[in-house]
Assembly symmetry: C2
Homo-oligomer: 228 residues x 2
DNA sequence: CTCATCCTGCGATGTACGTCACACTGTGGA
DNA sequence: TCCACAGTGTGACGTACATCGCAGGATGAG
């Protein structure tokens, strides 16, 4: 684990609360996992005995309906944590984790983590905050599903991805989200075709340019307006 | 606060972890709130400085879209906790709380609660579990919004309400949910009219009988099948 | 009691979006 | 290098659901 990894890790809710000494101790119990695009880290219904922090790359969390259709809970990038629900609430995993890009993760076994949590109660507070934020965000997404039409949800999703993965460039904001339109569709809860049409419409209006697994956002203000 | 209240309170996540001594200390800092049907406890965007546990009656948590349409996050009954997100993540409330029936609540001020939490770190663990469960459930509901049709969601909602508020009776399960069809519709993310039609259809099939703010579930198995 | 208001029931109509079908393009593996 | 296949783009069509409209019941405030 290099300096950059240490920094990325330090921004995760688990580490935020710790002083250098505590962080060092916690880092001692992480193991590293390497994933290539499309690789499955864990699957629904499996027993979960560890949580992860993304060091590099992107991971998607998906749920599969009985009939095989999928939906995407979220796409996670560096410093983001997942797989912790089964630590606090020991049940089988309710989502699968699949690499969207090649990447590396820090893995923390629950059995190692428990004693550490007991020894550092200040962490729990930060974790509670992290979960509270997630809950807020999820409620927000629920409301969008009910009230916002597909183009609106696509706009919202793009803005969110832009905020998290966007990089300034000539003529706009380059958002290399690494998602296929199919995945984007699963993320907003719509069919691939309608998402494609929404994107095409945005592009035609000059709000963005479509690229392979990426978009160039040209007029973020318009996009924002359309998302509300 | 009577013995029954103490028992109801004891089943809330906040109290679960505590021994009798701790519970007594925590009870010392609660204050009681009385609400009549339709009364608003708090509203969206307000600053939240306390959390609540339902002692008696039912409370709904609602969100209002900019255009005035509403959606119902959940209906809470005795022993259930709400308003805690702003304790862990200090932001304005993202939902309003309105009494569905007359009822009573236990209120706990954040400022009183913080020192108590620090003094009893075992509580945090239980709270983490409670939030994790809520997150799981919310993700579940999200998936339903995407994959399940309105009648299916209505069936699911009724089963959930039945489990939590149902009482065995001659010829079935009496579920006095106290919700208008409008509210039920907001809960499943559909229009009042379609929910009405779904209910009428279920009733016509003999799966249930419709009553004022209640249903008699006659064939729970069929309902369960329809919900999947 | 009685009127106003809330709640329910249900048909008519419009529409957003899913499904299907197919053609085009790019990309990575043999 | 070429093929196979994954990803994209777009139109035609069907349908689940929202919206609108209205009428009959229940409820409760004065």
């Amino acid at each position: 684990m290099n300096d950059r990894d240490v920094e990325v890790l330090g921004r995760a809710p688990l580490f935020e609360a710790l002083d250098e000494e505590g962080a060092k101790a916690l880092r001692a119990i992480v193991s590293e996992v390497h994933l290539s695009r499309g690789q499955t880290l864990f699957s629904e219904d499996q027993e979960g005995d560890r949580l992860y922090v993304v060091l590099e790359g992107k991971i998607k969390l998906t749920r599969t309906a009985p009939d095989g259709r999928e939906n995407l809970l979220s796409v996670l990038g560096p410093s983001e944590m997942f797989g912790e629900l089964s630590l606090f609430d020991p049940r089988p995993r309710t989502a699968s984790a699949i690499a969207v890009t090649e990447g590396r993760l820090a893995a923390l076994g629950h059995s190692d983590l428990w004693p550490f949590l007991k020894g550092h109660p200040e962490i729990s507070i930060h974790l509670l905050r992290a979960l509270a934020q997630r809950l807020r965000r999820t409620n927000e997404n629920m409301a969008d599903l009910v009230f916002t039409d597909v183009p609106g949800r696509v706009a919202k999703a793009l803005l969110d991805l832009a905020e998290r993965f966007g990089q300034p460039s000539e003529s706009g904001l380059h958002v290399h989200h690494d998602l296929t339109q199919e995945e984007l569709a699963q993320l907003v809860g719509a069919s691939r075709e309608t998402v494609n049409k929404a994107l095409a419409d945005f592009a035609q209006r000059g709000w963005l340019r479509i690229e392979a697994r990426a978009v160039q956002v040209l007029d973020i203000e318009r996009l924002r307006k359309r998302s509300r």
